[in-house]
Subunit: 305 residues, 6 copies
C-alpha cells in the first residue's frame, strides 16, 4: 500500500481533514500520488492497487459519498478504458483524476451561480452551519449587486457558524448571528432558507449538520422556501439499494468537556431532512425536486451506480 | 425610599438575582424590610411608600410577572384591609408577605406533585433549560419509585441545561445530554416533553427560555405531549389588556465574546410558545388547558386583575 | 304594534340598516320610542308589548346576535326589576336602554384600546372587509405615535374594503389595497391579521364576512397570528343550545347583475372561522382565548343566557 | 358490608354490567339498597358504611368516572347535610340517590336534544361504536322531520357497531355499515362526526372506544367537524390532579380466540382523543369547547372536586 | 426587423393578445410571415433575423414560457437542420412552424382527453379563472355522457370566471358561480379541483392566475385532490438555471379605477402554487407528479433546454 | 379459446385465485398452456389467439396491474420479435413466459433484500394485512441476525393479518397482534411502517388493502416513515392516461353475514394512499420516491406503456 494513501486515510479518519470537498480532494490526490509511484507492471496489478486504496479510504468514514463517488470514478475509469500499456494507463488515470477535480470545482461554481439567482434584492437569507458552496453562492449574489441580509446560527457544538459569519462580514454582507435554538424566532424575519448537504439519499432526503432537519420543520411552519445547495456527487448510491445512511457519532467532549460522572452525552454530527420539507436541490443540473434525484443522477453520472 | 429596596432593585436590574422565583422572593423580602423600617404615620403615607417601592421594583425588568403579582398582592392587601392603626397595619402586611411566600412554596410543591403523576414507569422525558419546578417534579417521580430517563438540552448561550443535568444525575436519574439543535433527533425517543415557564399570557401562550417554542413545534410534529409546569402566578395580567410580552434582549457577549467587527449578534432570552402546541399547564390548580388560564386565575387569584 | 318599530324592522329586513352595531342601535331606539308612546297600563301589558317588538325584530334577520342580545337585555330588565308603576317602569327601561347604548359604545372603545396595544411599531397589519372597531383600533394605534402599514382586501361582492381603505388613508396610514384572492401572496409580508366579527358561537368559532375563514387558513399556513376584534355581545347564546348559525344568502345580483340564463349564482354573506385558527378574541374583557367565550360571557353578561 | 353491594361490585368487575350509564345506575341502586338495609345507628357509622361501599365499588374498574361521580355525590350529600337523625338521614340520602338518577336521565335527554339541532337536513353523520346518547340524539333529529343518513363502523373486537346499526335501521334512518379501517374512505362522504365518551380529562381530552382517536385524525384531515356527545359527569376529576387515565386491557380472546402460540394479542378497550381534534363537547350545558371543561364542571357540579 | 413582427410584439406587450396559447400562436405566425418576407440571402443572415425577432418577442413579457418555447423551437430547428439553401430553408422552417402549431393543438386535445377521464359521474368540479384547456376537458367529459357539476369563481379583477361560466352553461353543464373569497365554503362540496397553468417551474411549482395558490391550500385543508391541466410546453426552462419566475404586475385601475389619493393598489396577475399541493399535472404525457417535470421534459422536448 | 385459459379466467373472476402475484402466475401459465396447445398456423392467427386470451383475462378483474403487465409483456414479445415460423415462435414465447416468471421471482427477492436493510436492530415494524413480499423482507432481516419486533393488524373483514401473524411467529419474530382501529395507539411504539401494494398509479399513489391510507395518515401524524414494498410491475400504465383506479367492491357478507334488513353494508377491498404520505417505494430498482415511478418504469419496463 502506498504510504501517502495510508497517511491520508489516517488524517481523514482522525478528522484532520474535514468537509466533504476537502476529504474528496485529499483522497483523489493521494490516489494520484499512488499512481505516480506505482510499481505495478500489469493492468490487473494496477487495478488491484487502486482497489486496495479504495477499501482503505472507504473505511475511514461511515459516510462520505463525495469521496466515495470520486474514488468510484477513478477505479471505474481505470477498469473500463481500453488502455493496457501501464505507463499510458497511469497517465490516463492521473489525467482523469485531474479532470475530476476540475469538473467538481466547475460543478460547485455552476451550482453557486444558479443559486445566486434565487437571492432577490432586499431578501433575508437564513442559513445554518458552514458550507463553502453557500458562501460562494452568497458572494456571487453580492457581486451581482444585490442587497440582502443573512441570519446565521452559531451551530453547536463546533461553532462552524462563526466561520460563516466571518466570511459573510468579510464580503460586506449584513449578517445577524444567533444561537441555534433562536431559529424559530428569527426565521419569521427571513424570506428563504439555504443550507448545504453532506449526503443525499435515494428518496431525496438530505443528510446535513445536526439541526438542519429541525430548521426545515420550522421553515415549513413559517412557509419559508427551504433550498439545499449541493453538487450532485454528494448523492449516496448505496442508499438506493437499502443502506440506511449512518450518522457519525462524534466525541462527547465537543459538547461538554467535563460532564458530571454518570451523564450520557450524545453528539451526532448530522441529521436527516425529509424530502417533503425541501423545496429544491440547487445543483449543477439546475434546481431540481429532491424526489427526482435518482433520475437526474442516472442521466448525468451513470457510473456512480 | 427604603435603602434595602433600592439595593434589591439594583441587584434585580443587574441580573445579580435571577430566576422568576428568586426575584419574587427578593422583592417581597425587600418590601418586608421597608415595612419594618417605615416612618409612615398614616395609612395613606404607608400605602404611598409601598407604591413607590412597587414603581421602583416594576421598573427593574420588562417582564417579571411573578414578582409583579407578589407586589400587587401586598399592595392590594394593604389597601383593602380594614386596619388603619399603623402598627397593626405593619404587622398585618408583614404577615401577609410571609404568608405569600409560604403559599408560593406550597404551590410549587403541589404543582410538582401533580406533574409527577404524569411520569409513567419506563417513560423518557424531554426537557429544555433549567426549571427548579421541573427538577422537583422529576425528583418526586423518582422518589415514588418510578424508573424513567431524561433527555436534556445544553440550552445555549448560558448552558442552564448543565445545571439540570447535574441535578438529575445527582438524583440518580438516567440522563442524556445533547446540544439544542439535536432536539428533533432525540425527541423521537421520548414520550413526553416537560418545560417550565417565565410568563403566561392571556391567550394561554407561554414565555420561556429561547428554544422552547421551536421544541413545541418539533413535539407536535412527532406527536409527543408537551406540558408546561408553572405556578399560576407567572400569569401576566397586563397581557389581558393588550400588552405584548416584551422579550428581554441580553448581552450579545453571552453568545460570542469577540465577534468580528460589523456582525450583529442577537440574544433574546425567551420566546413564545403558542397555546395550540401546549397539551396542558400543570399548576397548583391541577392540569389545565392553556386556553382556560384567565378563568382559572379569576377564580383563584382575582386580586391579580 | 308601534309604527316606528314596524318601520325599523322593515328597514333592517331590507338591509337599509346594515352593520351589526347600527342594526342594534336602530332596534334599541325603536323600542325606546315604543316605550315612550306606549298605551299599556299594566306591567303585564307593557311586557307583552316589548315581547311583540322582540318577536318582530328577531324575525328580520336570521342572525344578528348583537341586536338580539340588546333586546334580550331590555326585556329581561323590564321583567326582572321590582317596579310595577307604569310610568316609573317606562322611565326605568328607557334609562336602561340609554345605558345599554352607552355601555356598548364604551365596550367598543375599550376593545379598540386593548387591541391597539398589539400593533407594534413597524408592523404590517392585514385586514379583510370593513369593521368600524378595527378602524378605531388602528386609529388609536396611529394616535399613539406608532408607524405601521395596513394591507386590506377589496371584499367582493360589496367592496366594503374600499370603505376601509378610504378611512385608513384618511387617517394617514400607509395602506395597500388588493383583490381578495391575492391574500396568500400578501399575507407573507404582514405581521398580524386583525378582523372583526358578526357573531361568535359557543365553541368560539367566529362568523364574519365571506372570505374570513379562508384568510384564517392562509394566516395559519404562514404562521401569522390571527386576531378577532369584537365586543362580547356578538356572542350568540342560541349556539350554546345547539343552533347552527344560519348564513345569510344575499342577492345573487350583487355578484353578477346579468348572469347567463341557467347559471346558479350563490352569494353567502358570511363564513365560519374555526377557533383553532384564532389566536385571540380582543374584547372589552381583554384578549381571551376563543375557547373560553362561554365562561367569559357567563361572568360578565349572565342575562344573555 | 351489604351483600347486595358486594354482588353488584362483582358483576361490575366481571363486566356483567357494562356501559358507563348502566354501571353508574347499578352502583347507585346498590347503595340505595344498602341504605334501606343499614343497621347503622349513628350518622358516623352510616357514613362509614357508605365509604366502605365506595371503596369496594371504586375498586371494580380502573376508570368509571360516571359511577365514581355518582357515588361521590351520594357520600358528599350524606356528609354535608344537616340531618343527624338516622331515619331521616336514610330517607334523605335515598331521595338524593333517586334524584341523581332522574337528573342523569334528564341530562342525557337534554344533551341529545341540543345535539339533534346540529344535524342538518340532508346531512351524512359518521359515528363509531355504540352510544345510547348518540342514538337518542339521532332519533330526536329524525323525529324532528330531518332527512339524513348515517355511516357507522362495526367496531372490532366486540362489534358494538352492529347494535348501533340495528337501532338506526329500526328508527328508519338510512344507514351504511363498514369495517373500521374503511373510515378514511367513507369520512369523505360525511358532513359531521359524532361519537360518545367514556371519560373526559381535565385537558378536555376524551377517552372513548378504541378507534375514536384515529377517527378524529381522519376527520381533521378531511375538514369534518368532530363532536363528542357526553353528559358532563363523565368528567374524571382525578385527572385534574395528575392521574393518567388508565386504559382497560381486555381479554385478548375477544380479538382472536385461538391465536398461534407465542403471539402477543393486545386488546385495549379505549384510546384518548386529543382536545385539538374535538370541535365541541355536546352536553347538558350546551355545546362547549373541550378546553373549558374544568370551568364548566366547577360552575355546575362543584361537589365533584 | 419585419414590420409584422414589430406589430405583433407591440400587441403582446399591450395585452391586446392574451392567453398563453394565443400569444404563442401570434408569435409563431409573425415569425412565419417574417420568413416569407425575408430578404436574407445566407443561412447566417436568416438565423440572425430570427434571433432579432426572438429578442424582440421575448422582451414583450416577463414570462411567457409557451411563446418562448415555441420561438426556441423554431430557432433551434433553423440552426440545427442541414439545409443551407435559403429557399429550402425558408420552406423547412415555415413547415416546422406549422407543424409546431398542429402539435400544440394535438397536445391540448390529448391533455383534455386524459383529464376528462378523471371526472367521475356525479362529481363536483371546482375551478378558478378561465382556461380553454379546462373547458375543453369538461366538454369532453360531458360529451362522454357523464353527469357532473362545476363550481367556478368570478376571478377578480378581470372576471375571467364569467367567461368560464358562460362556456359551461353553454355546454349544458350545471354550474355554480361564486366570489373568489367564498372558495373555502364551496370547496367542501366539491370532489376535485382542476385549474390551468401559465408556467411550470423546475421544482414543479405552477404559476397561474392570482388566487390559485390560496385555492390549493384550501383544497389541501379539505382533502380534495388538486390537478393542474397544462400542455408541457408551459414549462419554463430558465427556472432550472435559477431564474425566479417574475410575476407580472398589472394596471391597478383594473382593481379600482378611482382609488383615493395616497392608496397603493397592487395587482399581481399570478401567484405560485407549491408542488406539495398539486396531486398531478395532466399533460400530453399523461398524469405526472409535478416533481418529475424536468425529467419528462428532457425525454420529450429536449430542445427546450 | 383455449379451455384452460377459460377455466383460469373463471377462477380469477371468482376469487378462487387471490393475491396479485398468484393471479399473474396463473394467467401466465394458462397462456403457456394455450400456446402449447395452439392450432394456429400463422403468426397472425397466433397473435390473435393471444389477444383473445388477453381480452378474457383482463375482463376478470377491474384492476390487476401485475397480471395485465405480464400479459402485455407476452403479447408484445410475440408481436415484436422477428420469428415467423410458428413452432419457433411458440417456443420463443413460452420461453419468454418462463423468463418472465423467473424475473418476477428475482424482482421480489431483490426487493425483499433491499428492504431488509432498512430494518435496524432493535426496531419495531408496523404492518397491515398480508404481503408475501413483506414477510420475505422480514425473514431476510431476521436471517441477517437482526433483532426486531412486529406489530400487525388483524385486517378486517378477511383477517389476512392472521396469516401474517402466523408466518412471523413461525419465523421466530416477536409479534404483537391488534385490531385495525388500535393503529393510532400502537403506531406510537413503532419505528417504521412497511406495507405491500396492489397497484401503483402514475402520480405515485398506492392502491392497497382497505385501511392502508388511514394508516399512512396516522404514520405521518406520529412522524413514522412509511414504506411501500412492491415489485415495479404493479404499476398500472393506464392511470397515466387518465384512468381512475377502480376499487373492487367485495361481498358485503364478508363484513356481516346476516345484517338487519334495510342496512347497506359496503365492503371496498382497497383504498388509495397519497404519495405525500409515502417515504419511499422499495422495489427491484432500489428505494425510489413515489413521484418518480413513471420515469423509473420508462427506463426499465418501457414495453409496459
Amino acid at each position: 500500500m502506498n504510504e501517502n494513501v495510508k497517511v491520508t486515510a489516517e488524517k481523514i479518519r482522525k478528522l484532520e481533514v474535514q468537509g466533504a470537498r476537502n476529504v474528496a480532494i485529499a483522497a483523489v490526490q493521494a490516489i494520484q500520488t499512488q499512481i505516480e509511484q506505482t510499481k505495478a507492471r500489469t493492468k490487473n496489478a494496477f487495478i488491484e492497487e487502486l482497489q486496495e486504496a479504495q477499501t482503505l479510504l472507504f473505511a475511514t468514514r461511515e459516510t462520505e459519498p463525495l469521496m466515495r463517488n470520486a474514488i468510484r470514478y477513478l477505479v471505474s475509469h481505470a477498469q473500463n478504458n481500453q488502455i493496457y500499456e501501464i505507463n499510458a494507463l497511469k497517465e490516463a488515470v492521473i489525467l482523469s483524476a485531474g479532470q475530476f477535480l476540475v469538473n467538481l470545482e466547475a460543478s460547485i461554481e455552476l451550482t453557486a451561480e444558479i443559486g445566486a439567482k434565487r437571492i432577490e434584492d432586499g431578501a433575508v437569507v437564513f442559513t445554518h452551519c458552514h458550507s463553502s458552496t453557500v458562501t460562494r453562492l452568497l458572494a456571487k449574489a453580492k457581486a451581482a449587486g444585490k442587497e440582502f441580509a443573512v441570519i446565521c446560527t452559531e451551530t453547536r457544538p463546533a461553532f462552524q457558524g462563526r466561520i460563516t459569519a466571518k466570511e459573510l462580514v468579510g464580503l460586506g454582507i449584513e449578517t445577524t448571528f444567533i444561537v441555534d435554538s433562536a431559529a424559530r424566532v428569527f426565521i419569521e424575519d427571513s424570506d428563504i432558507v439555504i443550507v448545504g448537504a453532506d449526503a443525499i439519499t435515494a428518496e431525496g432526503n438530505v443528510v446535513n449538520k445536526i439541526g438542519t432537519s429541525g430548521l426545515s420543520v420550522l421553515a415549513h411552519e413559517a412557509r419559508k422556501p427551504f433550498y439545499v445547495v449541493s453538487e450532485l456527487l454528494k448523492f449516496d448510491p448505496e442508499t438506493l439499494t437499502g443502506k440506511c445512511e449512518k450518522i457519525e457519532q462524534r466525541n462527547p467532549a465537543e459538547v461538554w468537556s467535563e460532564p458530571p460522572r454518570g451523564l450520557t452525552v450524545r453528539n451526532p454530527a448530522f441529521d436527516v431532512t425529509p424530502n417533503r420539507n425541501i423545496h429544491g436541490i440547487v445543483c449543477e443540473e439546475g434546481i431540481i425536486a429532491p424526489q427526482s434525484i435518482v433520475q437526474v443522477m442516472r442521466s448525468r453520472y451513470s457510473w456512480v451506480f
